[in-house]
Amino acid sequence: MLDCLSGAPDGAPRSLYGAEFTVDLNDLALRSALGADPRALRSRSLLIHTRDALSAAVALVELDGAARRIVLCPPGIAPDYLPAIATTAEVDGVLCGAEDTLAGLEGLPKIVIDPATLAKPRAPRADAVPTEWILLTSGTSGVPKLVVHTLGTLAGAIASTGPLAGPLVWSTFYDIRRYGGLQILLRALIGGGSLVLTDASEAIDEFLARAARAGVTHITGTPSHWRRALMGSAVHGLAPRYARMSGEIADQAIIDRLRACYPRARVAHAFASTEAGVGFEVDDGLEGFPQELVGRAGTAIELKVEQDTLRIRSPRTGLRYLGAGAAPLQDEDGFVDTGDVVELRGGRYYFVGRRGGIINVGGLKVHPEEVEAVINRHPQVRMSLVKARKNPITGSLVVAEVVPVSGLPERPLGAGAEHLKTEILDLCRAALAPYKVPASIRIVSAIDVTPSGKLTRVEA
């Protein structure tokens, strides 16, 4: 990856913009931030466990081609999981900051990475080793699964996009230590651009203001990231040429709102996951995706729908899960089951929810996402979360929480809130079967989003 650093299409300077400081990519091509000789790392399996995203980004550049295996720790990972992850991935060293303490990893040697001081001139590199990139899934419970990728599988979608003209400044709400964010880091590095990195401690409007100052041209996040961003004002300070959503279902309301916010941008939604890789991108302004994408033969990315879920076979999927006794990542034919339930209507496939997330109302199945999509159509609704409420008659009932556009109403039980609830229920009754209509709606000031930018769902 080091080879990608020097030279932008128009010779402009290229940078990785962190929250606290900036790394010049031309500098990084010449000098190292690594507290070890990369030539001594060829047989090592190294865990990247840094406090900030910028250090992790620099570590990836330093270690690709230098180490046998790199394991990328997302921020906020429970220290309890680290020993198991380290054992499974045969980790024999940790990349971290000089001051970092390594709870759960005390026995492992520490290699310091300090992007603030690109001190050492780069030694000539030995032949590159093929590096395994290990990404952690963002499961809701239990030890994350370890998915094996290579730079080839991760960058598959980038080569096919090709370089774009003009200065490229990428940004993403995702942390680059997760699949969605890593895609954007690689796009910036391989495609000849710069990147504005998020920082977990930074408010969303501060991050967007920083992105605006850097002149961001391309920006990505989950629909939940965007719904939150659209609650603030800094989102209007950007003028991107491209804005993309992935990681959750992009419903028609959020597509329309993002297009209205950035009328000059190409607004797209993409299907991607840590396991299945980047599947496809849709930019026709409509939710779902054209039926023609499924079942095409002779293409690099093959999609099929089996037992209602989308399956993907492509050179971009993860290779396998790491660990003895791990389940196969692909079926016998090489397809990855995404677990995302789709429905064909009028020549288009629509995402209806996750296979594991169904609410059972007296034997009838409800995907929370299909109800949220209807609620989100109301112009006064910014975000919604639909979940199950236990019930002695039907087992479960559907209930909803809603964040209104203007934030918390002054009096939650005021007439405005009651009026909004009534309108939302009317909308739901017109569009959904009675058992899918929320039995109650709560107006709230915020809805929890996971560190990976998705709505926090409790398994129904």
Binding site: N391, P392, I393, L425, P434, Y435
Partner: protein
């Protein structure tokens, strides 16, 4: 508001929301003949839990579920004791 009137108010509200035509709510009317289906009852029980603070269906020791409207009201009144 008494438990009886809370229940009757909620029954009417749920029936109204679900576009159900209610039978005359005497104590003798069998629940299945009130005009409410099981989804309506599920919603009713959830609403009553919010309004009264308890759900006798989840906490009842005996499994003698109410059959008539009068049973239903008494079921709640007994649970409140």
């Amino acid at each position: 508001m008494s438990i009886r009137s809370t229940i009757l108010t909620q029954v009417e509200q749920v029936a109204n929301e679900q576009n159900r035509k209610l039978a005359t709510l005497t104590d003798d009317v069998v629940l299945m003949d009130t005009g409410l289906d099981s989804l309506c009852f599920a919603i009713l029980v959830a609403r009553l839990e919010d309004a009264l603070g308890f759900d006798p269906f989840s906490s009842a020791d005996d499994t003698n579920y109410p059959v008539t409207m009068g049973d239903f009201i008494k079921f709640y009144e007994d649970a409140a004791q």
